[in-house]
């Protein structure tokens, strides 16, 4: 029996290793690509750990002033779209949960099914008429398509689990609905808001399709900027991989740090933007 349980342990660890290795190896290879000079990246058989690290790949990417512009663009778009979504989505989730208006969730479902490009055609025309193309405003607005449903969906689920007794007691004491929401419901809902915030940030940050249509030269977000760096005539994999890693690093860091919230949010709502 003892031998069997030891073998079972070994088997389990082997299975874990097999399952996790595609993710680990991929990201290690990404790091490896980003830290190699062209000689090493063009070598066959491939070099896994180079003799000299090409830190200059990162320096080059960061030093190009455009990249910083795009980084700031990404921050503004994701930051604004998430803040606005929380501003309207948290109260909405509260209202829907308390009214038990479950049919309104159909709209969220439609938003979830609709391909991102379907929003782009009419909104593209609208922004053109309004003369907003060339600014970041269209991207902020269209990112709401991603962030608002995530926030509402997660907050409905969360407010349905928070106890009603406290809120009823506050109402009896003469508090208004707004006061009850602000001082009773909202503080309790903080973990739910954290989950909504994290997922909205990640899916907005990652969004690509809205940017390729709506972004001009000055208004690109990072995913669009990275896409535009691809040119196959020149084989400069090092800087490209470095740029890709810089773009996705904040998200990966957030994933590992907040994996418990992310898992809770994804399994509860099973949402994904775009």
């Amino acid at each position: 029996m003892n031998l069997r349980s030891i073998l079972g342990r070994i088997g389990l660890w082997f299975a874990v290793l097999v399952i996790v290795s595609p993710a680990i190896l991929f990201f290690l290879w990404m790091v490896s690509l980003s830290l190699k000079f062209e000689v090493d990246n063009a070598a066959y058989p491939p070099v896994f750990i180079p003799e000299h690290f090409a830190w200059k790949n990162y320096a080059d990417v960061l030093a190009s002033n455009r990249f910083l512009t795009y980084f700031v663009n990404s921050l503004i778009v994701t930051g604004s779209a998430t803040a606005l979504a929380l501003l309207v989505g948290v109260p909405a989730g509260y209202g829907i949960a308390r009214m038990a208006a479950h049919k309104s969730a159909i709209v969220i479902l439609i938003a979830r099914i609709t391909p991102g490009l379907s929003y782009l055609i009419p909104l593209f025309l609208l922004f053109q008429w309004l003369g907003l193309l060339g600014t970041l405003v269209p991207q902020i607005i269209i990112h709401l398509v991603v962030t608002v449903p995530i926030v509402i969906w997660i907050m409905i689920g969360y407010f349905e689990t928070t106890p009603l007794e406290l809120e009823e007691a506050a109402l009896i004491d003469g508090a208004t609905r707004w006061q009850v929401f602000r001082h009773v419901a909202l503080p309790i809902a903080r973990p739910g808001i954290a989950v909504a915030f994290i997922l909205a940030v990640i899916f907005s940050w990652n969004n690509f399709v809205f940017g390729i249509v709506l972004a001009g030269r000055e208004t690109r977000t990072l995913p669009v900027a990275v896409y535009n760096m691809i040119s196959f005539d020149q084989l400069s994999w090092g800087p490209l991989a470095a740029a890709a890693l810089i773009v996705t690093f904040p998200v990966l860091l957030l994933t590992v740090l907040a994996q418990r919230q992310i898992v809770a949010g994804l399994t509860a709502g099973a949402v994904k933007g775009g």
Binding site: S118, I230, A244
Partner: protein, 312 residues
Amino acid sequence: MSALTQSTPAAAHTKTAPEKQWRPPSYWPFVVPALVVVLAIIIFPWVFTIWMSLNEWKVGSPTIFVGPSNYLRLTTDPRFIEAVGHTLVYTVLSVVLPLLLGTLAAVVFHQKFAGRGFLRGVFIMPMMATPVAIALVWTMMFHPQLGVLNYLLSLVGIPPQLWVFHPATVIPSLVLVETWQWTPLVMLIVLGGLAAIPTEPYESAQIDGASFWQVFRFITLPLIMPFLFIAGMIRMIDAVKSFDIIFAITQGGPGSASETINIYLYSVAFTYYDLGYGSAIAVVFFLLIVLLAAVMLYFRQRMLWTEIGSGA
């Protein structure tokens, strides 16, 4: 009832009022801002898309109402029909493979071992990472001469492949990326299902001397079926709509070998700026997703009935 809902919030503490029926209108102000946003960015685009799909609407030329002719054009557009085929192949593979691998991964992650939380975090990194960034790295890995994938194949004696650079292998290669990216989501959903299973069936199975496979086949699998179905549904919706990975790696190529509906829609609307026709594609595309979801629901329903039938 209506008198009750009209009254002030103070009516809340009349405990005689049945909780279910008591729905005061005063929660509406909480919903109104979101309602405005949803109307503007979700409902309005939909209404406008349907209207545009009935028009000849090209950027730079006058708009003409043409009725259903955009839809009729779809039925004779070989590129669209081909794109539907690519989408279906891509979708079926991108649902089945993550479901299989995700279930396996969930069974493993359901066990207790040191560092499980951290490793689960690592395992879900592919689906949280920026799709364009990982597409870029996959493109390098697919490179026929310098890519690491052909090197890995050569280690086990398999001849080099052209991956995304050959019409016959491009869709399987893209599915490989999609599977790598989205298996974690299936794993998470199934893991939630496994956590909800009671322990009694396993105990009696152990007494009866059931094998590992029998336990999985006759106890675990039926109990996690609802979760597998949800995972399959979500996977279907996302796989049909897949854009970032395909666009960033192949842009629908080589030729049009990996052009899915979504990629074709992009070309029509934002390369040729044929917005009326693009809108018609968007509408049909949406209906196709709803249809696929309905088909899945239908089979799920039938399976439920046969399960009940055989169980009786």
